[in-house]
């Protein structure tokens, strides 16, 4: 039945979609009176031209790996988790509580504790929408959107209330020294040459890589993963095979929320070393673009997250050196979601016709 070879589906279509998004972005840059080629050079230079740039790119990519994986696992169960933003915020709350109230002897233990805390808090925030979807049929998209807003208000409540540090700013106190994670600067310090100087990338990047491997194994090498995928392909067939929809919806969403929450060990514990308002900065939403581009495959998510890390850091450089505002990245993100997600058939239909014609010839 497959009209196209697998490589076309996995590589060619995302590539064309990305090119379309890039083309339109270039037009936008052109329209506001800047040179797209110069902009691209600046972005590549700023994001990949030095270990400092790489340090930022990898830092952002770490965030996007977590949120991208979160959206992916939900996609496999045919659910759309728009709540990554809220789950990551609440995950940050978990990290803050774990880091502030438990006297950790060493960062490695703190990392384990914070990871568990972030995962539990994130999963808990996903649990209510998941339960409502499974038991009462309330649409997960709407409930997770609502929970994003509720999470923001909850965080606000804690940061001007119980967890607030002395002073004007709505933020927690700084986490104790023992919970500070080693940054790439600490890890790649070879006496004379210090790589990644001043960049926020930290050991969490490797946790993110481990999460990719874990999720790949879960989806394609375990019974649970098989059940999730079959539920996603056909709910009625899965039910007939004795797979409980309630269980799959709950489990998939709990894993999804946990992954989104785990992003907080990167941005809260790793970078800021305290919890501030709006700590997630839209990374939860970028997870959607990353998952769509990565075709919900952990390896694809990794590549897409690196691309978005590059775009994020490159965009910051653009905003610094040209009159192109940072919001250009949001435009690019929107175009990627549009072309790889919503307008997929626009690219796919002509390609399928092309391959069909080639096969007949």
């Amino acid at each position: 039945m497959d009209v196209m070879p697998k490589w076309a589906d996995v590589i060619l279509i995302p590539l064309i979609s990305i090119l379309l998004a890039a083309l339109l972005s270039a037009l936008v840059i052109l329209a506001i009176g800047e040179n797209p080629w110069e902009a691209l050079k600046l972005m590549v230079n700023g994001a990949l031209g030095s270990t400092y740039g790489w340090g930022y790119t990898l830092y952002y990519a770490t965030n996007f790996i977590f949120t991208g994986l979160a959206v992916s696992i939900a996609f496999h169960a045919r659910m759309f988790n728009i709540g990554g933003e809220g789950q990551a915020l609440v995950g940050g709350l978990g990290v803050a509580i774990i880091c502030l109230f438990i006297p950790w002897p060493h960062w490695s233990l703190a990392l384990i504790g914070a990871t568990i805390g972030a995962a539990i808090f994130g999963a808990a925030w996903a649990a209510i929408p998941a339960f409502l979807q499974a038991k009462r049929g309330s649409h997960i998209v709407i409930t997770t959107i609502m929970f994003n807003f509720i999470a923001a208000a909850l965080l606000n409540y804690f940061l001007i209330g119980a967890l607030k540090a002395p002073g004007m700013e709505p933020a927690t106190p700084r986490f104790p020294e023992a919970t500070h994670l080693p940054s790439f600067q600490d890890m790649f310090n070879f006496g004379e040459t210090t790589l990644f100087r001043g960049a926020p990338a930290n050991i969490t990047f490797f946790v993110a890589l481990a999460a990719c491997v874990f999720l790949w194994a879960l989806i394609w090498r375990t019974r649970l993963g098989y059940e999730i995928r079959s539920f996603g392909h056909s709910e009625s067939a899965a039910k007939y095979a004795g797979i409980s929809p309630t269980k799959i919806i709950m489990v998939a969403m709990l894993i999804s929320g946990a992954l989104a929450g785990m992003m907080a060990i990167n941005n809260v514990q790793g970078e800021a070393e305290r919890l501030v308002l709006n700590a997630v900065e839209g990374a939860g939403f970028i997870g959607i673009a990353v998952a769509l581009m990565g075709r919900s495959h952990p390896f694809g998510v990794l590549l897409a997250a690196l691309l978005f890390g590059f775009l994020y850091q490159g965009g910051a450089e653009l905003a610094l050196w040209t009159s192109i505002p940072r919001e250009l990245i949001i435009v690019i993100q929107a175009l990627v979601i549009l072309f790889t997600g919503a307008l997929d058939n626009m690219v796919r239909m002509p390609l399928e016709r092309l391959f069909l014609a080639m096969r007949r010839a």
């Binding site: 506001i32 509720i150 505002p325 929107a334 919503a342």
Partner: protein, 322 residues
């Protein structure tokens, strides 16, 4: 709470409920035709920007309104292409539209006006001015009725009355016209509509188009009537609250009005913590008031207050049988 304060609060309710109502009715047309639209937010934002920009440049708010509607319709067409023509995922398309608007408005505003992503302040003919309804001045001193008429009913911008008139109009279109019957049918069972020889594609594009127009008015209201100019992210989640109101109203026009008024009232309360404190004689958390619409929606969605059943074919692209 004294009578004057109550009137003030209700007046603020009407002003704040207007954009919600317009966006809610916009979503109603779209979703009743089977096209989910979580891009209401983005369309409002795009319309708010372009209406403020054109109003600032030309000094004519009506041109601004037209431009805002235009911007919103362009995004509607994108949504239509994605969800009707190319049968893509409607939710993903809506998300993309929201981000597209959030990014493009700031990028363009910055390069156009160089004021940090906002438009210049609007004044004079660049804004919608409040209109005084007939006899408002004369009736002002009549007890009870006078102040209600003068303060609450009269003295709003034209778009407020447009929004309120849209409610009976929407009811009439949906339940009393052939177009409305077909529109509702295409959201429940498109195959039946197709069998009857009516174009599913046309009906859905029409619904998405109407949705674009109403979102455009809502956005223009935000930037040229409620406030004087565009600022970054000024829609501030109103598109999502409208979506919540739509579910609350169970996709019916009159109930949409009540739901939007309720959510508008909550927003008005959040702006006046001093009044709440005086009335309830204890302090209500401001964050709680802000998120009350969202919490209410979740409770309603959970089915604890009557079940909200969406149009049956909602979110499903229609594929003609061959």
């Amino acid at each position: 709470m004294d009578f004057a304060t109550l009137l003030q609060m209700l007046d603020a309710t009407v002003r704040l409920a207007t954009p919600l109502l317009l966006a809610c009715l916009a979503g109603l047309y779209s979703e009743r035709a089977g096209i989910f639209d979580i891009g209401l937010e983005g369309k409002m934002l795009a319309a708010a920007f372009l209406s403020a920009a054109i109003a600032a440049v030309t000094g004519n708010v009506w041109l601004g309104l037209l431009a805002g509607i235009g911007a919103s319709i362009v995004l509607s067409v994108v949504h239509g292409l994605a969800s009707i023509t190319f049968r893509g995922n409607q939710l993903i398309s809506g998300v993309a539209i929201n981000f597209l608007a959030a990014g493009l408005t700031v990028v363009v505003a910055q390069s156009w006006f160089k004021q940090g992503g906002r438009t210049p302040q609007l004044s004079g003919d660049g804004r919608f001015e409040p209109i005084t309804l007939p006899f408002a001045e004369a009736l002002r001193d009549v007890p009870i009725i006078g102040p209600i008429y003068y303060e609450l009913i009269s003295g709003h911008t034209p778009l407020v009355y447009v929004a309120l008139l849209m409610v009976p109009l929407t009811w009439w279109v949906l339940y009393r016209t052939r177009f409305g019957l077909r529109l509702r049918a295409v959201g429940e069972n498109p195959a039946a509509v197709d069998t009857a020889g009516v174009s599913v594609v046309f009906l859905r594009y029409a619904a998405v188009g109407i949705c674009g127009i109403l979102c455009g008015i809502a956005g223009a209201y935000l930037a040229t009537a409620l406030q004087a100019g565009f600022v970054k992210d000024m829609s501030a989640g109103r598109g999502y609250i409208a979506l919540a109101a739509l579910i609350f109203a169970k996709w019916r026009p009159w109930y949409a009005l009540y739901a939007c008024m309720l959510f508008g009232f909550l927003q008005a309360m959040a702006l006046r913590p001093d009044v709440i404190e005086r009335v309830l004689s204890f302090q209500v958390n401001g964050q709680l008031l802000d998120v009350l619409p969202y919490i209410l929606t979740v409770i309603i969605l959970a089915g604890f207050v009557g079940k909200a059943i969406p149009p049956r074919a909602g979110g499903e692209p229609y594929v003609k049988e061959r």
